[in-house]
Symmetry: C2
Subunit: 213 residues, 2 copies
């Protein structure tokens, strides 16, 4: 066992900056992501914590143009439905939002949860089975931070029918889509959420989200 | 808008170490967590990404002894059920695992998802409503990494009946338990998962979890 590292104030300050700059990115440069960087991001995802050490994340690198087009079609369909469901006073703003970088992002990575995995022996998920999907979320977030540390942006697309995406990517039965990630160099890096810049929503202060019991 | 930071190789190497040392901790020293550190961790959680900028996480700092005891009772009950459900060849090992630090951890933080929040205007969660809970998971993970950067350990307890915990902590209706966190200084820091050290499960290599399409 290695010696526990001591992280210093300078590292913590940089980590804080990383949290702030790790934004959801929907506007990408066409420049490809170096293969070595992709390998590092994917390895980082696998370092995430998981319930019972189940590692239920399954990563699907989507490179085939026809499959990407199919996912884009699913997004367009779901996003049209979402627009139609907007209240009148929000529809115009919603329609102007750019909600995915599917067209421009050089890399697409679909992250699934293998809901049938035996790994972990079911430990920790009898009463909260959703912790399996949560584990895949932790893998996504680890990858996201590793990307931001390399100047790479990640955009998490959730305006998708998860079953249609599973079919379009022909993944094994029992794999449930957790997140569909666009990855590339951001064309408009920012420390402010795009939805805040676009006037969709404002950030709440943590004091409003905290109770004592 | 601030200038996009450049993160260097030294930072990335430290970040990688942070991912490796950010373990699930179930053995804590009794030393209290400084109040300033708790405030920083809680602020970090609020810097996490969230679907539609919904910030659905609700943090409940549990300090009351009777409430902590109630949570411990819920854990004991659920863990006894989980033990009884183990196959014969795993039950002995399961019984020997230490699965929570509820007794020793100086800080308890329950993280809920406010499933009724209007914040975010529903954006991004029409087809995947689970992304609301996923957002609270991202807050937990951000806090977890901020803790590890300070030599603090976090243990995520999921062997709990989420509705019983919500009742024990008397939280508003519509708040769903996402994770119950024990926080403190680890008494046995390690870069290897406790479940791996105890022989419960081994880690899979990322190449086994990756497909191309």
């Amino acid at each position: 066992m290695a010696e526990q590292p001591h992280f210093d104030d300078a590292f913590r300050a940089e980590l804080e900056r990383l949290f702030v700059w790790r934004r959801d990115v929907r506007r990408f440069e066409p420049a490809p992501v170096p293969e070595a960087a992709m390998a590092t991001l994917i390895a980082s995802a696998n370092a995430a914590p998981s319930v019972g050490l189940s590692q239920p994340w399954r990563l699907v690198r989507v490179r085939n143009a026809a499959r990407r087009l199919a996912v884009r079609g699913i997004f367009e369909h779901c996003n049209a439905d979402a627009l139609a469901a907007q209240p009148e006073d929000r529809a115009g703003l919603y329609a102007r939002l750019k909600l995915s970088g599917l067209d421009e992002a050089p890399e697409h990575l679909a992250v699934f949860t293998d809901e049938g995995t035996a790994k972990g022996g079911g430990l920790g998920r009898a009463t909260m089975p959703e912790t399996l999907g949560y584990s895949a979320v932790l893998a996504i977030h680890t990858l996201w931070l590793a990307a931001a540390a390399r100047g790479l942006g990640v955009g998490w697309v959730s305006i998708l029918d998860p079953e249609a995406v599973a079919r379009a990517l022909d993944v094994p039965a029992g794999w449930r889509l957790t997140g569909y990630l666009c990855i590339g160099y951001p064309s408009q890096p920012s420390d402010t959420p795009e939805l805040e810049r676009a006037g969709w929503e404002r950030r709440a202060s943590v004091s409003d989200l905290l109770l004592e019991r």
